[in-house]
Symmetry: C2
Subunit: 154 residues, 2 copies
DNA sequence: ATGGGTGCAAAGGATTTGCAACATT
DNA sequence: AATGTTGCAAATCCTTTGCACCCAT
């Protein structure tokens, strides 16, 4: 019974550590202590953190972590598509550990980023629309003034 | 007859100068010599120029133009939506004088940006999907390795 | 022992800012 | 004359790089 539960837990990957490890290896990235910590943070915080956010969050619990490593790691994650780069605003590059395609909304006033799961992200038919070019990622971005900021302006 | 032609030309705005002037005033931007030059360049070159590209193109014919002014002007154009900001790659921010919504493709190898006019950019129904947030712009980005770069890799 | 990963410090690049001069009304 | 625009120089900020150390295989 307890053995069965362990097996079930293992196969359904209940812990973030297991999920992070799986994401790294599936994407062809060799796990390290730092990479695991960053991936775990991304998977527990779908808050679109910047490099600075990630560093500020992890530095207290991993004092030797350097910002260079955060930069290197996020570049690696982006390249191997283990995380999404959100470049919706050029002054606010951030990252998303949620790699299922979904749209993003950016408020020009408060800088907040909102996930939009009910806006369909257009699929791609390689031969026609994309003229034979390979597609590795799609981003659908909306910008404007959010509900809250509009309210405060009145 | 020649008068009629002048009137027709004026109303249909055949010259880039007329179109640029109209774009600026319609968007609420006060025209200046520099702003007109930059808008004319954007309207004649749908090549997704960077700040540097714009500066390098205009500096020879307007030697007093400064890069600061290009920065200021493009920030202004973006804010008043007289031009689109293409932030598809965080290391390659560029601009598009074509403000009708259309998708963009970015090649991760050669950095080339391609317009995709036949991919539909999803329209927005404010009340449902966008939860009451105002939308001022939409960007649909595709990334990958383009046909030409794929060919060269073989 | 070797190769890759990390972290520090420095370098590099891009963008913004302060301010004086200028243009336009 | 007043307001807004421009351009230079400097400052700032973000990101990358070079290199030495460290860890794991």
């Amino acid at each position: 019974m307890s053995y069965l539960c362990t097996v079930i837990n293992h196969h359904s990957m209940n812990t973030t550590k297991e999920k992070a490890y799986a994401r790294l290896t599936e994407k062809g990235i060799k796990p390290s202590v730092q990479r695991m910590a960053i991936m775990e943070f991304l998977m527990e915080n779908f808050t679109h953190p910047t490099i600075e956010d990630i560093y500020q969050a992890l530095h207290p619990i991993m004092p030797t972590l350097s910002k260079t490593t955060v930069y290197n790691t996020m570049r690696l994650f982006a390249e191997y598509q283990a995380a999404q780069v959100i470049s919706i605003d050029d002054h606010h590059i951030c990252y998303d550990g949620n790699i299922t395609p979904h749209a993003h909304y950016y408020c020009d006033r408060c800088g907040k980023i909102i996930d939009l799961y009910d806006v369909p992200v257009p699929r791609l038919r390689k031969t026609t629309e994309l003229q034979g070019h390979d597609v590795n990622s799609v981003q659908l971005y909306y910008r404007g003034v959010c509900k809250d900021c509009k309210k405060n302006e009145n």
